[in-house]
């Protein structure tokens, strides 16, 4: 897939001297859902803001659909829809008017048929004449999405689309995002919910302290970095790990009733066979063996911790 957004050596240092983005290089492919995952203050919003023109970058280049976001900002920005993290809406405006305004602002001639399509898609059509202030939180967020989609963008940035949203609404949002992807829109969303990235992203970028630590296909990320654990339950509890087994990465389970062995699936040898024979050589009797794979959350915590 070709890249629709290309980010090269993007840096941002605020006037206060705080460096929010150190040097970001990233290609976003057309049609994908990319989740930028990172803790609060990692630079996710600054990255989106720099691409969309809300903050000025200190150095580097970004192109969207081949247009430089500074030199050819009109071409670039026409392709972009932005859904901000905060619910920034004029409280006394009617839904229809505010969405129509966004379309005009982005240089598109009035097209009520398209706006109707967008509002119906987001289940807002019944509320088109309601004032923003009369809407629920979930609806307001959908109004923001409607505004972002009003000018038919090819790239949609969603900044923390489900922050502070309950489980059901979150699932609705994921559904909406998938539908948009089916319509051919490239989606970049930021989140600090790992389950969100796991649920809808094609690729995941991990960002912390202004740097992209890695970008991987979701499945690969989990496979490549996934440590596995094997829990070996014993017939008879043991007080300590026998000396013969000291060379293994073992921890003692609850009440000494089990041994927990952590290994890397990427390693050439997992060492399971030898471990099991060494365990019986040490005189321990097995009752059961189970393995479990680390979740994206474990992976994420691991990467961020290693980096800092």
């Amino acid at each position: 897939m070709p890249a629709i957004v290309e980010i090269r050596d993007l840096q941002k240092t605020y006037d206060s001297g705080f460096t929010a983005l150190k040097s970001i290089d990233l290609d976003i492919r057309e049609g994908e859902i990319l989740a930028l995952l990172g803790p609060n203050g990692a630079g996710k919003t600054t990255l989106i803001s720099a691409i969309c023109g809300i903050v000025r970058q200190t150095a580097g280049h970004v192109t969207v659909g081949g247009h430089d976001t500074i030199a050819q900002y009109r071409g670039a920005r026409r392709l972009i829809g932005l859904v901000p993290q905060e619910i920034n809406l004029e409280p006394f405006e009617k839904v229809m008017n505010t969405v129509r305004f966004s379309r005009g602002l982005f240089g598109r001639p009035r097209d009520d048929a398209h706006i109707e399509k967008v509002l119906r898609q987001l289940s807002l059509w019944d509320k088109r004449d309601a004032k923003v202030i009369e809407l629920s939180g979930g609806m307001k967020r959908r109004v923001l999405i409607a505004k972002a989609l009003s000018h038919e963008p090819r790239v949609l940035f969603l900044d923390e689309p489900t922050a502070g949203v309950d489980v059901e609404l979150r699932r609705d949002m994921w559904e909406t995002v998938r539908k948009l992807q089916a319509d051919g829109v490239t989606i970049i969303l930021t989140t600090h919910y790992i389950e969100e990235a796991e649920a809808i992203a094609d690729r995941i970028g991990i960002i912390a302290q202004g740097e992209i630590l890695l970008v991987e296909k979701k499945a690969e990320l989990m496979r490549r970095l996934g440590a596995k654990q094997m829990v070996i339950e014993l017939q008879h509890p043991t007080e300590r790990i026998p000396e013969q087994l000291a060379g293994y990465d073992l921890t003692l389970g609850k009440d000494g009733g089990s041994l927990v062995y952590t290994y890397d699936t990427q390693g050439e040898r997992t060492g399971i066979t030898k471990l099991l024979s060494d365990i019986s050589a040490a005189g321990l009797q097995l009752r059961d063996v189970q393995t479990r794979q680390s979740s994206l959350e474990d992976i994420f915590t691991d990467i961020v911790r290693k980096d800092s």
Binding site: S49, I54, R74, P84, N88, F106
Partner: protein, 253 residues
């Protein structure tokens, strides 16, 4: 040019004006009528004539200027301050629109509103005084230029202001005194010579003088100076706004 953006902002802002039509129009008309009653009828009856014009008629251009200046500054400053305050400015900053287009949308809307108010006050004046307009085309020209230039000024104030207090500070502490001391209610020839010179540093003098000339054919300063002053002020404001968008001053981090 993204003219759709200019139009979108203009239509959106005008819709706000018409939503609050009563308070937008009624209050300036009411306060101006009060000025007519107090200055024109009560005090004016004790003042003979100013350079051959009845005092009631003499203050009409000044009264219109007072409302138009204050309204232009406050409309335009509120227009851009509000999106900053509630956060919707993200949309303006991320739109494929240049500083000229964004400014044009807001300033044209604010200027339209103050022009409407100016014309309504002019209409109201006919109820109170016997009034004739010597140069109607010049009168409209001055009015429109004043609305535009002070809406530009208001736009700058709106970007500069960081809270509602600052937003109201400039119209209250700067514009109103300048208008009152700018010969709205008197001819500056009535002042002692020293104060006449000081007054010439007040830009509003040139506006009021030129505007009054379009009514009565007489002015405190030459017409050319009035036009030059208003053009200079407009150019200055556009320059500042250009700089604001270029550097992102108080709007782009």
């Amino acid at each position: 040019m993204n003219l759709e953006a200019v139009r979108a902002i203009y239509v959106f802002e005008m819709a706000r004006t018409f939503r609050t039509l009563l308070q937008s129009i009624v209050s300036p008309v009411l306060s101006t009528s009060l000025y007519f009653v107090v200055f024109g009828a009560a005090i004016g009856s004790r003042i003979d004539e100013v350079e051959g014009i009845s005092y009631g008629a003499f203050i009409v251009p000044g009264l219109i200027m007072l409302s138009v200046l204050v309204q232009s500054v406050s409309n335009a400053s509120f227009g851009i301050y509000f999106p900053k305050f509630i956060g919707t400015i993200y949309e303006l900053l991320s739109a494929p629109a240049s500083f000229l287009e964004i400014t044009a949308g807001y300033v044209l809307a604010a200027a339209t509103k103050s022009l409407m108010i100016g014309l309504i006050i002019l209409g109201t004046a006919f109820f109170f005084v016997d009034l004739q307009i010597a140069h109607p085309v010049w009168m409209i020209t001055f009015l429109v230029l004043t609305c535009l230039s002070f809406s530009l000024f208001g736009f700058i104030i709106g970007i500069w202001a960081q809270n509602f207090e600052q937003l109201q500070l400039v119209p209250l502490l700067v514009v109103t005194p300048l208008v009152f001391l700018g010969g709205s209610f008197y001819s500056i020839t009535m002042l002692p010579p020293v104060w006449q010179t000081v007054t010439l540093f007040n830009p509003v003098v040139y506006l009021v003088s030129g505007f009054r000339w379009s009514f009565f054919g007489m002015s405190d300063v030459a017409l050319g100076w009035s036009l030059a002053a208003i053009v200079l002020f407009t150019a200055l404001c556009i320059g500042v706004i250009w700089w604001i968008f270029r550097t992102g001053y108080r709007i782009r981090g």
